[in-house]
Symmetry: C2
Subunit: 300 residues, 2 copies
């Protein structure tokens, strides 16, 4: 029979008190039970650990050697329990985050900074991804959470972190460029530059609805992949576009951002609700707090 942790605890207690009687009191068991269990330990090791007689108890040579061993085993066991406890509270572990390329610019730094400050021992990995990779990555468990723009899909849960104005994006010198604000219908006659609808149909269905509500279908003269490219095309005077105002930080020259009345863009954190990971809960807490405390669209 191989010893159990109880036997080691008992032995350590006796070794520390150098008395079965006092150790038994400390362990809240009867002295006789303690004697018995230590004897079991000694028999299972095939070794005498304690010299006991009527005037007390002393460690044998082997007992002196085994004491630190027993302590080490107990300490390792405590550590294992503590580790799993901390993991259960989400204080350690791995967290994989995905950022939509167009939100990474302003979301990643504050999010990562805030989370690492609160949970420095969580191994954090981040990736900039396209919307397609983001959704499949969340579904397949490759990412624990992601930051992106709605609308998304029903099987993933989202929480809105930021809402910001949507702006018309015009080339510098455009006739409407000095307006304080615009309506979407003001741009009915303009040539448009938009992203490719293949990237994420739900977005483009929303755009289509917006344009339909404004009473026209835009004359799309160019398609860009990625916001920087799109801004480049606008700066080149190819056409106008519409973007969340936080995109302003991606290009400072050649384009003008004019708020579109009544249009808002959201940035959300999204996760797979079937994954119940403690670290994830902590991330959600941190980013929710963070979004309430600071204006993330300006934090990049």
């Amino acid at each position: 029979m191989t010893p159990e942790l109880r036997h080691l605890r008992y032995f350590v207690a006796v070794a520390e008190h150098l008395s079965f009687t006092r150790a038994a009191v400390a362990l809240r068991v009867a002295q006789q039970s303690l004697s018995q269990q230590v004897a079991v330990l000694e028999r299972s090791l095939g070794v005498r650990l304690l010299d006991r007689d009527t005037r007390g108890t002393r460690l044998t040579e082997l007992g002196r050697l085994f004491l630190p061993e027993a302590r080490a085993v107990l300490a390792r066991a405590d550590e294992a329990v503590a580790t799993v406890g901390r993991a259960a509270r989400g204080e350690i572990g791995r967290l994989s985050l995905a950022f939509l390329v167009s939100t990474a610019n302003y979301m990643l730094p504050p999010v990562v900074r805030a989370f690492r400050e609160r949970f420095p021992e969580v191994e954090l990995t981040t990736e900039d991804v396209t919307i397609g990779d983001l959704v499949t990555g969340l579904r397949e468990g490759r990412y624990d959470a992601a930051f992106t723009r709605p609308p998304l899909v029903d099987d993933l849960t989202t929480r809105t972190l930021v809402t910001e104005p949507v702006c018309a994006v015009l080339p510098t010198g455009h006739p409407l460029a000095d307006r304080a604000e615009l309506h979407l219908r003001d741009l009915a006659a303009e040539p448009w530059v938009l992203t490719s609808p293949a990237s994420w149909p739900p977005w483009h269905q929303k755009y289509d609805r917006d344009f339909a509500r404004a009473g026209y279908a835009p004359d799309v003269v160019a398609r860009a992949t990625g916001v920087p490219n799109l801004l480049g095309l606008v700066a080149a005077g190819v056409g106008v576009s519409r973007l969340a105002s936080s995109a302003r930080s991606l290009r400072r020259t050649g384009v003008v951002f004019v708020p579109l009345v009544g249009e808002r863009a959201e940035t959300v954190v999204v996760w797979n609700p079937s994954v119940a990971k403690p670290v994830l809960r902590n991330l959600l807490d941190v980013v929710t707090e963070l979004a309430a405390a600071v204006d993330l669209t300006r934090a990049g």
Copy 2:
């Protein structure tokens, strides 16, 4: 309640087989008992380690993290048991040896070499001591064993390792120096150089008996402390002496060693019989073997 090693063993088995049923077979317990004990472990940790349903068992995120922890605890426990086992077999531990200064010269190197070869992990300390320190050191447990010359005392156990001739020690050019052998009575008229009787009475009582048997009391003209000094006095022509032949190695010039017929000197290993230390048994085995195999008086 804090987990026992059994719980960890059970969990590791299930995690390795990814099946309660198969793990139960391997552990030679019923599946139901195994399920119950793993559930106890999970409850005591406050954490779900395994996802189980009708089509099998998989580790949870936390289970995956706890598995190496559990393995580490079990490994540490095994190591502790193995360590005390090796200590019980005398393969590890500490061994403190004392050598009488006059025997250290030829005994220490072969003894230490042989022992370290057989038991390289025993921490060996050696000390050259006078006979008085040697005896009290053994009695007080400061040394585990010592190498010296008899006679000693009843409360210490001795085992003879080497017997060798006793020689008359004469200055070079002494009239008797070219004899092949001598009897003690041949030296009745000589001036004698001996060690101080205060060093260890039992020795000098034996000397006195030897001289009495030879029919005279020696004319002691000088007392030396330590064999090298004694040899120096003989070389200086102060007188003659008698020493074990192994003392030859301490001085090569100015003295001549002539065997004394019928006189033998012993070198013994001595230990405290009330100390039952596994390393000590191994030492005794090694030196007994060693003494049987080689002539230790020439090994220095």
